[in-house]
């Protein structure tokens, strides 16, 4: 392997006799109750990841219902009202049930390992915040069986369609969002408390890996915007059940206020779903390029810069709602500026590759695909920022293509990259190489076949969220549907690979990848239940 300077050195602190309280802590119930009551960050991380994968598959089934209906023009399989429920549930489940919990799961597993902490700072809270999620999403999915059906107003639930004109199940939807929101907030508090207080002695903030950094910033974003979401849905609840008029023009309210509030939460939310992805890719690329991350400091600053800008751009989701000219210009300029720090990140990843020593393990394949396809999503994002052009793009499949490019080959690919990267650490086995490669290429082709044609159908004039379309969009929709089924079914392969990897496979050493330099690779593979019980002494690289 390429000879690298040791990035840091660990000195095990002198072993100490374990105290009585220590022993007590190690008492564990067996069987199912072990998982229900666990306070161990690794087990909770696993629970989060399993939950997320389940939601990913359920949300995926909803997406396939949508794509099946859109395979051909005309109504064949479902009626419009059910179609709307499917698009809505797909969005809600994927955003709040799949992507966010997956990142929290990865954080649970990897943040303590990467900063040399024995566990999360608040282990019991950690257990609680996980178990809120199944409750929230059982409630949300149960709305499908309620009279009047599930929420059908899109994952952005614009008032008054989601208040005055909403199905009766909306109250349960609001409750489930509240619960999921509390779970996210508690998770974020835990992560902040862990990162700020439990770093190994000698590890300063600027010594942390990019994954930990991006999660720290993400957690602050969560703390800042999840309460706003809670506020918005509370106002909806009051409009629906208590006769207030926050969003009802007839009572002196304003439906557009809903959109301002929603996107004040919603835009930072978008970055909540992509910043940890930046972090994962920023630890994977250096590993498989066997070269230090280029511009570490700039990466941290760019992350912070994106997070701050995310609070100043929300109204670019509302360019056609009738904003005054000055507001339109302000949000156009601020949105365009986001391209700068985002560009810095992409350039840094590529320069990290430049003159490296690159190998293409499955994790690296997903990370490379992330960089390319996320950048394509970034380009369409830049086009969408140009307000006059957005008058044509807005609410068309061009937008659908854009945000799926940043969320599927963006966020989802980064999660898969992270799973392939850390599976040896979690299970002690390497994932099956051939099958992983198959999974990558099928996903890669499927995802592009699904979402690339959407750029064209959108530009040609196909609005989003329609169950049926005019004939000129037929060809592109057929391609998208074929791609969607290809992508969807290849994820079953992913499930198989993960199960196989848990049960066996090629044994992995503590340092599973020869370019991997972070702290987690110093503990054995699979990582024992308790790691870093005595804090390692961290020695930073000399800069």
């Amino acid at each position: 392997m390429a000879s690298l300077p040791p990035k840091h050195r660990l000195e095990s602190s002198a072993s100490e006799a374990s105290s009585a309280g220590h022993d007590e802590h190690h008492y564990r119930p067996g069987g199912l109750m072990r998982w229900v009551l666990t306070t161990n960050h690794k087990e909770i991380g696993t629970l989060y990841l399993i939950f997320s994968l389940t939601m990913f598959l359920i949300g995926g089934v909803f997406a396939l219902v949508v794509r099946a209906e859109l395979f051909q023009p005309g109504l064949q399989l479902v009626q419009p009202e059910f179609f709307n429920q499917m698009t809505t549930m797909h969005g809600l489940i994927m955003v709040f049930g799949a992507v966010m919990p997956a990142f929290v799961g990865l954080a649970n597993w990897m943040v303590p390992l990467q900063i040399g902490a024995p566990d999360m700072a608040l282990p019991r809270l950690n257990n609680f915040s996980f178990w809120l999620l199944p409750i929230a999403f059982t409630l949300m999915l149960s709305t499908l069986f309620m009279p009047g059906g599930a929420p059908n107003f899109g994952w952005t639930f614009y008032a008054p369609l989601s208040t005055t004109y909403a199905p009766p199940s909306t109250t349960f939807f609001i409750l489930s969002l509240h619960i999921a929101g509390i779970s996210s907030i508690l998770g974020a508090i835990n992560i902040i408390a862990t990162i700020l207080n439990l770093r190994a002695p000698g590890m300063r903030l600027m010594d942390m890996t990019l994954f930990v950094w991006t999660w720290l910033i993400t957690a602050f974003l969560l703390i800042a915007v999840m309460p706003v979401l809670a506020g918005v849905v509370t106002m909806m609840l009051m409009d629906i059940n208590f006769g207030t008029s926050f969003f009802n023009a007839g009572g002196g309210g304003d439906p557009v206020l809903f959109q301002h509030l929603f996107w004040f939460f919603g835009h930072p939310e978008v970055y909540i779903m992509i910043l940890p992805a930046f972090g994962i890719v920023s630890v994977i690329i250096p590993t498989f390029a066997r070269k230090r991350l280029f511009g570490y400091a700039s990466m941290v600053y760019a992350t912070a810069s994106i997070a701050i800008l995310s609070f100043l751009v929300w109204a670019h989701h509302m360019f056609v709602v009738g904003l005054p000219l000055v507001a339109e210009l302000f949000f156009m300029y601020s949105t365009m500026l986001i391209a700068v720090p985002t560009g810095v990140k992409v350039f840094n990843w590529i320069t990290t590759l430049f003159r490296g020593s690159i190998s293409f393990e499955p994790a690296m394949l997903f990370a490379i695909a992330f960089v390319v396809l996320f950048t394509i999503g970034g380009f369409s994002g830049l086009m969408l920022a140009i307000s006059p052009a957005d008058f044509q793009y807005h609410d068309t499949y061009f937008v659908v293509a854009h945000f799926h490019y940043v969320l599927v080959p963006g966020a989802v690919f980064s999660i898969m990259a992270g799973v392939y990267y850390w599976l040896p650490k979690w299970t002690g086995h390497y994932p099956h190489l051939r099958l992983s490669q198959w999974h990558f290429w099928l996903s890669m082709i499927g995802v592009n076949l699904t979402f690339f044609p959407m750029h064209f159908s959108g530009l040609a004039g196909m609005p989003r969220r329609i169950p049926d379309y005019s004939l000129q969009f037929a060809d592109f929709n057929m391609l998208s549907s074929i791609g969607a089924f290809m992508f969807g079914f290849s994820q079953l392969l992913f499930v198989v690979i993960v199960i196989m990897c848990v049960r066996g496979g090629k044994k992995a050493p503590a340092k599973a990848w020869d370019g991997a330099e972070d702290l987690e690779w110093t503990v054995p593979s699979p990582a024992p239940l308790h790691t870093f019980e005595h804090p390692p002494q961290y020695r930073p690289v000399e800069h």
Partner: protein, 211 residues
Amino acid sequence: MTDVVEDRSPQVRRTVVKTLVVLAGMFGFAFALVPLYDVFCQVTGLNGKTSTSAQTLVHEEVDTERTVTMQFVTRGSAGLPWKLEAHSRQVRVHPGQSTEVYFTFRNLGDQALVARAVPSVTPSPASLHLRKLACFCFDNQRLAPGESFEAPLVFQLTRDLPEEIKTVTLVYTLYPQDQGPDVAVATVADGAPGSDKGRRPASGEDPGGEA
């Protein structure tokens, strides 16, 4: 967990308390955004809402050089068998001049109902320069079955109305309101013109709308 976590628990507690404070602050902030949005709209004319209470006349010289077309559009809404009509569809006014126009409310249904005419102005920046000295839109209206009445709107477009605005459209949409005790205007006793903020039974004549 181990000594480490326990050792650092005061620090952890401090971090948690700080984040909880931020959290509570942000939840409050979300609700504070509602009045803030209203204030912001009033300052910038963001959403074309007009003032919800009577404003005073700004005494300024009438700008006879400029003429602005003031259009009135009235709309009903579902569940309300009422009709609102502007006596004149549009008037030409000079900035600075105060003008009175009349509207007729009519309840075509067989039930006494309460409703309010909710205004919206376009282009929205014009709402900053439209001063309503008297308007039926400040209060809820109650109408007995078959009743009708005329109500005036007295307004002024201030002289600092931007040059490029030559047409201002004022749209009133009738919305049914809860029949609560907060109804400001009771049904007018017949034949009391001028009472009750200028409400009077409909006469059919149109003294206000000189086109």
